[in-house]
Amino acid sequence: MTVMEQRGAYRPSPPPAWQPRTDPAPLLPDAEPHRVLGTEAAAKADPDLLRRLYAQLVRGRRYNTQATALTKQGRLAVYPSSTGQEACQVAAALALEERDWLFPSYRDTLAVVARGVDPVEALTLLRGDWHSGYDPHTHRVAPLSTPLATQLPHAVGLAHAARLKGDDVVALALVGDGGTSEGDFHEALNFAAVWQAPVVFLVQNNGFAISVPLAKQTAAPSLAHKAVGYGMPGRLVDGNDAAAVHEVLSDAVRHARAGGGPTLVEAVTYRIDAHTNADDATRYRGDDEIEAWRTHDPIELLEAELTTRGLIDAAALEAARQDAEEMAASLREHMNRDPEPDPMALFDHVYAETTAQLREQRALLQAELDAEQEHHGEQEGGAR
């Protein structure tokens, strides 16, 4: 008897029943971005919150114009403006509790400042005197990340660690539309979903990654749709509607805190300014598009809501403007001082304990600086 005969004829049978692990339907984002301002839902919004959002939006806009002006004066090496995107950034900070963590990308200075980081310290990286001007632990804000999407797995890890420790801490990680194409984005979302980590991903879809429009970045119906494949809910929100972004993010944060796992939020917004002050946006987009988005300005949307419903008076509007002016003046003043980073600091913090090699190199630089000093002294002496 052959082996085949021993085993008998192979009778095909249907495969064992297949069950999707998760019902994708509740994970799918709505067809339209969620809106609150100008709709009936706005009546339910907390007026106090709206006023706080408003004040922060006005401050944020002023911060953007001031920082951009500082690049023109050579006080800042580079500034990626977030004008038009203030609602996303402000809502991101305000949706968190004090014990939560924020993982910003390089464009997210406003979120960092709204979280309490000193406005000057938030610009240290962009000014060029050190890579991170603030202590991440003070306000629970990770350093601004320049390589795209690399901060996302960090957020997942921190959230996971907090949960392992029994702390109800949530991590909110920010990324741009372009950043969602990176492998790190995929890996972070997958880990987060598998671990059910208390983390919220906020994609600020501002239409472009430098010159590349969203259509060349993804073929997905929306970036929020990407969530479904990982097994987490995707939410789509109007990124210029501060109340809506705050609501959706707060829901996601609550959900994560309660043990519900991660959420991916896509905020649809627009980058009004060029990629940075060094970029020439006329090479890849026309004015019409920009003008269309200007009529959907986050500050004006909220201001209209507040004034038509009588939630804010002229004096309060003026006060918000005044506060922003003061912040800008102080920023200007601090940035107009010449920072003098100490060259010897180059050798600090490379290791917990410095190495023999670094001590040698430190001595070399010290000798060079001493010689420079002496040279200057001689020159001055000669002039007298």
Binding site: A77, V78, L125, L126, R127, G128, D129, W130, H131, T146, P147, L148, G178, G179, S181, E182, G183, D184, A209, I210, S211, V212, K216, Q217, T218, R283, Y284, P339, P341, P343, A345, L346, F347, V350, T355, Q357, L358, Q361, L365, E368
Partner: protein, 334 residues
Amino acid sequence: MTTVAVKPATMAQALTRALRDAMAADPTVHVMGEDVGTLGGVFRVTDGLAKEFGEDRCTDTPLAEAGILGTAVGMAMYGLRPVVEMQFDAFAYPAFEQLISHVSRMRNRTRGRMPLPITVRVPYGGGIGGVEHHSDSSEAYYMATPGLHVLTPATVADAYGLLRRAIASDDPVVFLEPKRLYWSKDSWNPEQPTDVEPIGRAVVRRPGRSATLITYGPSVPVCLEAAEAAQSEGWDLEVVDLRSLVPFDDETVCASVRRTGRAVVVHESTGFGGPGGEIAARITERCFHHLEAPVLRVAGFDIPYPPPMLERHHLPGVDRILDAVARLQWEAEG
């Protein structure tokens, strides 16, 4: 015969011209990367290529370096010659997996049956006041990976010639573009761009008798300046521009060191574990009896690349090179 005016051109323009000529000469050459199409690259090196050759030949990819290089591998497997652009040195790191695990060793893995003619262009190095992750000198990582050629031009003419050679090579080439030389100008005839020697040849940029400065890429102009400055102190320095880190031109380097008897290796990359260690070892192995002093290195400090306001203290400058040269003398007397 009419003589063509030799106009000053920038290194960036020469690179653009090289890409254009390579694409025109060979329909299998494809350029791809972030912002290389409509924008023409953040340094404008790919300017005009999408317009001239279409978006299938000069493609704005999604923002994903591993994806860019990984798909280039597949394209090369199917007979194309991809030239990929990594936007900045430190943003090439996501593509390391592809580079190290596949690009560098596909020829070897397949016993020669599947070579990968891919050129990876990487703007690298400091000195332009970039914020962090925009100034790394990553050449040592590439040099440590067998199977890759590693080239870096220092002149406008070399930028053109070497890039043409890189694209024509049947092996993968990491083409390191010193970004602070992008706007440096040379008299160069863009109408009749010239070829360079085959990959792997160093060149003596300045002849001299008393010591050799061995350098490449962004440090070449600094060494030439140092050599001029050293003249008043009685040093006649020879400057060797390596151009190709892999393969390494032992012949040119050793011939020079044997003539001068003294050598200093100069580069921006960190000294410890950096290219200079390898170069010094090779010289010592081959020229020991000709050396009047130990081979010295002038390199960047062994620290993460510093912020712009401090980078001048980190980068090897003329004074630091001259100090090393002075130590050669002392070593000789001692």
